[in-house]
Amino acid sequence: MSDGGGESGRESDRATKRKSSDRDFPQAIAKIAVAQICESAGFQGFQQSALETLSEVVVRYIRELGKTAHTYANSACRTECNIFDIIQGLEDLASLQGFSGASDSDHCLAGSGTVREIVQYVSEAEEIPFAHSVPHFPVIRDRKQTPSFLQIGEEPPGDHIPDWLPAFPDPQTYVHSPVTLEQARQHKKAEWSLLNLQQQLACNGLEGPSMIDPGDAAKARRAAETNPFLSAPLHFGEKGVSPVFLPAKLSNEAVVENQAGENHAVANHVSVLETFAPAIELMKSRSCESEEGRKKVLSNQRPAVQFKIEIGKKSTGTALDLSFQNKDVEKITSWFGKDNEKDDKKRRAEKILKESMKNPQELAQL
């Protein structure tokens, strides 16, 4: 049983490999015709496999008949077949079933039993035309031929190439050429406009696409108000983003903190900045107070406990650490007795450094 299954599996593989796209159409038509004939014979339904098998047998019958007739015509030194070749082919195929007069050795072909049977069949059977109109197939498409050198008017490169041969393809198709500046600019422009188009589509939804100018920030802002995540990305130079190094000036401290918050927040999100603005301002105010506190402390007393509003889950821990470190730093500096402004600035710079070191860790956790 398994052997039989394996064999038929292999056969089906071969059949599917043979089956190509140009076989499908005539095969389908044959199936329809066979189904019509079977219906006239009395069947009301078909198994799919049975119908396919019968149509395949019918196709082979036609081909066998044609091959036999052609062979008989060739045997009679002709290339075109005539009626007698077909009758002989019919006799060959019907020899299994048998027909009247099959055993006669020298009977006339015109009066062959097969022909008589066919004549009888035609007279008895009702005419069933094919259900659909069949176009003439196979359809031959006009192939676009490559023009020759002569047709183009080109000189063939080399004397050994005659001009009636098809021309070579354009060198651009197979030679890689470096992209020029202009082309690069054009590419960039095209990409930019495409990006704009996509953003428009995303922001406006069902609205039709419209091109926005590079300088048109109003629409981008409008888009940003509706959904901050769909706002247009900022371009280079539009927003002042500070470099990473920290200036030692006091006035810059707030700016640095502000920009530290900006730097480490998700870039170019207006709403994020807005939400952090109060926190940053609070930090600024706190730091101002702490500065003043520090000034006082530096003179004689212990430094005050400094609370830092930091964004992140580990804020309380780090705040305490910072305050402790500040104490240590200030204690050490007080022993040495350097109470210059420069030292203050240095201390503040160190403090800012520490904060900025902590900040990326905390803000990155957001």
């Binding site: 049983m1 398994s2 039989g4 299954g5 394996g6 038929s8 599996g9 038509i29 044959a30 015709a33 019509q36 004939i37 079977c38 006239s40 014979a41 009395g42 069947f43 009301q44 339904g45 078909f46 198994q47 496999s49 049975a50 119908l51 098998t53 019968l54 047998v57 019918v58 196709v59 019958y61 036609i62 081909r63 008949l65 044609g66 091959k67 052609h70 290339t79 075109e80 077949c81 005539n82 009626i83 077909i86 299994l96 079933q97 006339c108 015109a110 009066g111 097969t114 022909v115 049977e117 066919i118 004549v119 069949y121 035609v122 005419e127 035309p129 094919f130 069949v134 176009p135 197939f137």
Partner: protein, 136 residues
């Protein structure tokens, strides 16, 4: 001489019958379309510009299919009547005559076409084999 003349007459009759038949074929439209027959005949090398011969081939094929179908129908009816011996209700239910592979293979066997169809389908090529010989 007489036999020869008789034979000649018979031949003439046959020829005339044939030509008449071919003439009548032009009016008769076979179920198998001409384009299909032409396509398959061309594939096997058959060359003929005459439409009547194409029609003759189509009619012959149609006759062949009708014969196979009627044989299969007889097989189907015989099987149904054999089953129905038990219950009369089934006869009314199974009025639908369906062309199955079983009936078709039995009918085609008389015409020299051996069609073997699947008894059942196995999941994998190794199913049903001896466990000892199976490679796993």
């Amino acid at each position: 001489m007489n036999q020869n003349q008789g034979g000649n007459d018979a031949r003439h009759d046959d020829d005339s019958a044939l030509s008449d038949f071919l003439a009548s074929l032009v009016d008769y439209t076979p179920t198998i379309p001409d384009e299909l027959v032409e396509h398959y005949l061309a594939k096997s090398g058959f060359q003929c510009p005459d439409v009547r011969l194409i029609r003759l081939v189509a009619v012959a094929t149609q006759k062949f299919v009708t014969e196979v179908a009627s044989d299969a129908l007889q097989q189907c009816k015989a099987r149904q009547s054999a089953v129905v011996k038990d219950k009369r209700d089934k006869q009314q239910k199974d009025k639908r005559l369906i062309l199955t592979m079983e009936d078709l293979s039995k009918a085609l066997r008389e015409y020299g076409v051996n069609v073997k169809h699947q008894e059942y389908f196995a999941d994998s090529p190794s199913s049903g084999m001896d466990p000892a010989s199976r490679d796993e």
